[in-house]
Symmetry: C2
Subunit: 140 residues, 2 copies
DNA sequence: CCGCATCCAAAATGATACTG
DNA sequence: CAGTATCATTTTGGATGCGG
């Protein structure tokens, strides 16, 4: 019987099932482009879901790239457009079920950031944990 | 007294402490470039830690970009070079403590991939959970 | 104002060859 | 084996404009 391995042991993490492709490689093909995860942050966590609101929330992101990313995310089934008003057309972007499953990814990145980049993030420069930063939000 | 919010409620996730910068934005500045997370996958999970091994494991990644990424990761304190042999110089790349803290990020991305891209990843096209794929590895 | 297209410049990445 | 050097290609940034 095999012993369980601690995650950082000095040997590779071997899957129990053969992989045709690397899950990380495949997923990064979808989420790995510049701005993608930050746009998802807006929609998923900040509830900023309109075109120009997203653009304003992310200095440096241009209309051109934002249109591309939104349509890529839509094509991948992570977000969908909800028509708020016709003529002039105004749409709000919301997460699909698949899109909601990216939230743990966003959270794990935030958890890393507040631990290691506290200096840039918090006025008191003190690292924090997710449950400190978001108490009562269901974090572990 | 405030009620705890489910993570996907229709309102923004508000931090308990004011943020000078967005943790996601800051972290993506380090991890957000093309190939970075895949290189970390090699070092952190597959224990592929030598220059040409990494390059061979990631078709499309060139020497040029790999050198840049390794030195960026080193400069950010995520990895460090262990000299295996001098002249010709051979180094192995290993995670620092900070680098080890990116493993949950890698894992959350893998978890997303094996759920939503099972078609490309598994021969039987069946989505899986982390504990199915890596039983006895300490996954929830 | 809103979502988005167009044009051009700049930056990032890819291909190939080469070096100690 | 671990990188450099050079050049081609792709991706992104910045400005502007346009129909609704």
């Amino acid at each position: 019987m095999k012993k369980a391995q601690p995650p950082t042991a000095d040997r590779p993490l071997v899957p129990a099932v053969e992989l045709l492709a690397c899950p990380l490689l495949v997923t990064m093909g979808v989420l790995g482009k510049k701005w993608t995860l930050l746009i998802l942050r807006d929609i998923a966590l900040l509830k900023i879901n309109r075109f120009n609101q997203i653009r304003r929330s992310l200095p440096g992101l241009t209309s051109r790239v934002l249109v591309m990313r939104l349509h890529e995310l839509e094509a991948c089934g992570l977000i969908e457009a909800v028509v708020v008003k016709e003529s002039p057309r105004v749409v709000g972007w919301v997460l699909t079920e698949k899109g909601k499953d990216t939230i743990p990814i966003l959270m794990s990145i935030i958890a890393f950031g507040i631990k290691w980049y506290a200096d840039e993030i918090f006025e008191d420069h003190r690292p924090r944990t997710m449950s400190e930063l978001y108490p009562g939000s269901g974090c572990p």
